[in-house]
């Protein structure tokens, strides 16, 4: 039986639950009515404990159990949740995460030192529980009977469970459930129902045909016993009869499984839940009343049995649980690799479609062309949907920073709050993963260097609580993330002084505001007098810049002394397939990403300088023929493609405009990585290769020509 998949899912889901716990704990400070949140935190801990129990991860279970007990006390209203408890619970969440990590990398091994680290946390948790409150049953110790009471049927439950055919395929092992039951009590008798097993040839080893009748002695509540089977509630038919059930209940049980009524009675007897006499008596009663089958309900009501409402209540609960599960499971986990494959194939589809398009146009067959345009439209929609699949909201990443801000503000003793905007902005999954570290660094910098101390803030008339804000939005084909703070801003003098000291600039050189700010991205640069373990070593900002440039993005800083600083990160939204605008220069075809194209105008009178008049505005342009050294003379009728990036417009002078086309981006070999202005290549419908222009790089090169000497390998 392959438990690995189920285990992997367990780890992933538990991590999600831990994240939810953390978010809820951090938010609890601001809330007036905390009952809902506390309930959510409790449920998260409870689910982790339960799932861990199914896999036999005892260490996790025992630790989480104490956490759960404390949360239970809070939930009941006997304890209020306060700052120190939040910090303690956050630390416990971390510890559970660490335990899970250790188990994932070294399954089956106990990390003693790690477990010891949990001991002080457990001690603190128990302090909350105090002496008067009894912690619920420790699942590790076998359940002890209270002496003196005759253990007869007082707490003897009868559980009838028939696991669905797919339970093995879903990664659940029926045995593990029974094992877990054993932690809540003792299984005194068990009978396996094998009547559904087909002949050996017809049997599918991956399907489950078994059911179990279990006699179970326990003092746990019915909800707890039902909770054991939480994971398979959809898949199995489960009946739990509480102790002291009347025989009528057993009748109902029997009736509810008509196909095996006779044998069921025998099994009940064998389990010890019923005695043979009771069973016979019950059946006799029924037979005597009416020859046909009487609705069980009436018998039970007559007998004054409580079973009906009890069972009805249980059924209701099951239904509600199923509804909840249905709502939660609106999302599916998919392997990222499968998505990549899908997108690759769609890329090929687009190329093939473009090829067919070219031929359709050449053939001059109207029907074929119409048909083909329908096809192209559909392919475009499929492409858009597929790309959307990889898009993830940045909100999850932003909310991780709540924890960072919470911890760091405590560490450095400043009161800082994090404000988040634009959480619904979506990015490609890989970009979201890679942007996490640089953003963390920027946030920490903002807190450590940016936000001024409380006295300074009071002097400057700012509110005592500092604000770091994160904002994300889309802008013409890029996604923009801003990290701003309302602290002291960048100290120009200090930066210039430090740069002079390090020899980064020559003395006497005058730098603009932007250039001064850009200095802090130099490797090893820092104006901090002391190095804290947070920052100041001068390692961070250039790593941040490098990581962002590796994602083909840009990073800028704007700052006002005394008011605050804003770091703006721009990342391209583009993935493998973009809408492109093809232009021709000489014999070469280049592609401009369509979302950067603003308009096209004719290129009139070449006056010699590199700017022109665009409806009254000055439009600088780059002559691509010159830039790329395309052989041949320029044509008589040239065109300017006006492109827009980061709020600035400029033009590209080209020969011919060839129109829009979907473009599959094929990466260029690494040997072309130094070519500024080309970001990739694409295959046209004709089979030729077109180069994709890197508009931001072109703009940067035109404005700030690189002056430092090239390094030859």
């Amino acid at each position: 039986m392959n438990m690995d998949d189920a285990l992997a899912t367990f780890f992933a889901e538990s991590r999600e639950l831990l994240e939810q716990m953390e978010t809820s704990l951090l938010g609890i400070g601001q809330e007036n009515d905390t009952t809902e949140t506390v309930g959510a935190i409790f449920r998260a801990a409870h689910t982790i404990k339960g799932s861990a129990g199914l896999f036999g991860l005892d260490d996790v279970v025992s630790f989480t159990h104490v956490v759960e007990s404390v949360l239970d006390v809070v939930r009941d209203g006997r304890l209020a949740i306060d700052e120190p408890m939040v910090t303690l619970l956050l630390a416990c969440g971390d510890h559970i995460g660490a335990l899970l990590d250790a188990l994932e990398t070294n399954p089956g091994q106990r990390d003693e030192s790690l477990i010891e680290r949990g001991a002080p946390l457990t001690a603190q948790l128990r302090a909350y529980l105090g002496t008067g409150l009894v912690a619920a049953d420790e699942p590790q110790a076998p359940f002890e009977r209270m002496g003196g009471i005759n253990p007869c049927e007082k707490d003897l439950w009868h559980i009838s469970v028939r696991f669905g055919a797919d339970v093995l395929r879903n990664g659940m092992d029926p045995l593990s459930f029974i094992r877990y039951l054993g932690t809540l009590g003792t299984v005194t008798g068990i009978v396996t129902l094998t009547d559904a097993l087909p002949a050996a040839e017809a049997m599918d080893p991956e399907s489950n045909y078994l059911g179990f009748q279990i006699a179970f002695r326990s003092q746990a509540e019915k909800a707890a016993i039902e909770g054991v089977f939480d994971f398979v509630l959809d898949d199995c038919t489960l009946n739990i009869l509480p102790p002291n059930s009347r025989t009528g209940d057993y009748i109902e049980l029997i009736r509810s499984m008509p196909e095996e009524s006779a044998r069921l009675g025998e099994m009940l007897v064998r389990c010890g839940s019923l005695t043979a006499k009771e069973l016979a008596a019950a059946l006799l009663v029924q037979e005597q009343r009416h020859p046909e089958i009487i609705p069980i309900g009436s018998i039970l009501v007559e007998q004054g049995s409580v079973a009906a409402p009890v069972v009805a209540a249980a059924l209701e609960k099951q239904k509600r649980v199923k509804e909840n599960k249905a709502q939660e499971s609106q999302s599916i986990r998919i392997d990222a690799e499968k998505l990549d494959q899908l997108i690759n194939m769609i890329g090929e589809l687009i190329i093939a479609s473009a090829g067919a398009n070219v031929i359709a146009r050449k053939s001059r067959n109207i029907e074929l062309q119409e048909c083909h345009s329908t096809l192209s439209g559909l392919v475009e929609r499929v492409r858009d949907s597929a790309l959307q699949l990889r898009m993830v909201k940045i909100g999850a990443t932003f909310n991780r920073f709540q924890r960072v801000v919470h911890d760091v503000s405590r560490e450095i003793g400043k009161d800082i709050v994090l404000v988040v905007n634009g959480e619904d902005t979506e990015l490609d999954k890989t970009v979201v993963e890679k942007i996490g570290d640089p953003l963390t660094h920027l946030v920490r910098n903002a807190m450590d260097h940016g936000i001024d101390s409380a006295e300074l803030r009071a002097k400057r008339g700012k509110p005592a609580q500092g604000t770091v804000s994160l904002n994300a939005y889309h802008d013409s084909g890029s996604i923009v993330i801003e990290v701003s703070d309302d602290g002291g801003g960048l100290d120009r003098e200090k930066i210039l002084a430090k740069a002079l000291e390090r020899g980064l600039i020559e003395p006497g050189r005058v730098l603009t505001e932007a250039e001064t700010c850009a200095l802090i991205f130099e490797p090893g640069f820092s104006t901090a007098e002391q190095v804290t373990n947070l920052s100041g070593r001068g390692v961070g900002m250039d790593v941040v810049k490098r990581n962002i440039v590796a994602l083909r993005g840009t990073v800028d800083i704007a700052s006002q002394p005394g008011v605050g600083t804003t770091v703006t990160v721009r990342l391209p939204l583009t993935l493998a397939i973009i809408n492109g605008f093809q232009v021709g220069v000489g014999k070469s075809v280049f592609v401009v990403p369509l979302d950067m194209v603003d308009e096209c105008v004719e290129f009139t009178s070449d006056s010699g300088h590199d700017y022109t008049d665009l409806r009254g505005q000055v439009l600088p342009f780059i002559r691509l023929r010159e830039l790329f050294e395309v052989p041949g003379a320029a044509g008589t009728r040239q065109n300017i493609v006006v492109v827009k990036h980061a709020g600035q417009k400029f033009g590209l002078v080209v020969d011919t405009l060839m129109g829009e086309a979907q473009t599959v981006i094929k990466p260029l070999s690494r040997m072309f990585s130094q070519v500024k202005g080309i970001s990739g290549s694409s295959i046209l419908g004709s089979g030729d290769v077109a180069l994709i222009l890197d508009v931001p790089a072109l703009m940067e090169e035109a404005q700030f020509p690189v002056t430092h000497t090239p390094q030859l390998a």
Binding site: E348, I351, S588, V589, I622, E626, L627, F628, E629, V630, K666, P667, L668, S669, R670, M671, F672, S673, Q674, V675, K676, G677, I678, S681, I683, G687, D688, V689, A690, L691, E701, A702, P705, V706, T707, P710, Q711, L712, A713
Partner: protein
């Protein structure tokens, strides 16, 4: 072409002055013509040979990088070997082909094409028939030559593809060119 061993040939990137007798020697070489001279490359690096067809030029690259082609959906750079060796390029004739070579460098597999004037045959050259390269006189950078093979009384220059097609080299050369070009703007 691609028949034989699954492991890539362990070719030394710096040509040793003594005979490298220890490595798993590929004894089959593809010989071809470049500007009248015969060269050869071990066949284990060769993926395929295709006809010469229109290249797409890539601006701001050194002249030895002629451009890129579309190889069944992948964009493959194509090198001009004479230019790489510092000689004038040859004209394109009907016998001109592109030899697609696959090398592994720094953990990455790179597929690169080279233009050749004409492709000759696949020869078996025994290890004993390979002489160490001359220190000078071949008009090519010494580290490009893996050895000199003796075939029918004549010498064939065995190329060290890892050096000839070294990405780092080409990348740096590209950097130099592009900096020059852009600083003029």
């Amino acid at each position: 072409m691609n028949a034989v061993a699954p492991t890539p040939p362990h070719l030394p990137t710096v040509v040793a002055s003594t005979m490298p007798a220890m490595r798993a020697e590929p004894t089959q070489y593809l010989t071809f013509q470049l500007a009248g001279e015969s060269f050869a490359i071990g066949i284990l690096s060769i993926k395929e040979i295709i006809e010469y067809h229109a290249l797409t030029e890539v601006p701001m690259m050194p002249s030895c990088v002629r451009g890129v082609i579309n190889l069944r959906g992948a964009v493959v750079p194509v090198l001009d070997l004479p230019a790489r060796f510092g000689r004038p390029s040859s004209e394109v004739t009907k016998r001109t082909c592109i030899v697609i070579v696959e090398i592994e460098a720094a953990g990455e597999r790179q597929v690169i094409g080279v233009i050749v004037d004409a492709v000759n045959e696949v020869l078996d050259i025994d290890a004993t028939d390979i002489e160490p390269p001359p220190n000078f006189g071949a008009n090519i950078r010494a580290d490009f030559i893996q050895g000199m093979g003796k075939v029918k009384g004549k010498f064939v220059i065995l190329l060290n593809v890892h050096q000839v097609l070294s990405i780092n080299d080409l990348q740096a050369a590209g950097a130099a060119v592009s900096k020059d070009v852009l600083s003029l703007n």
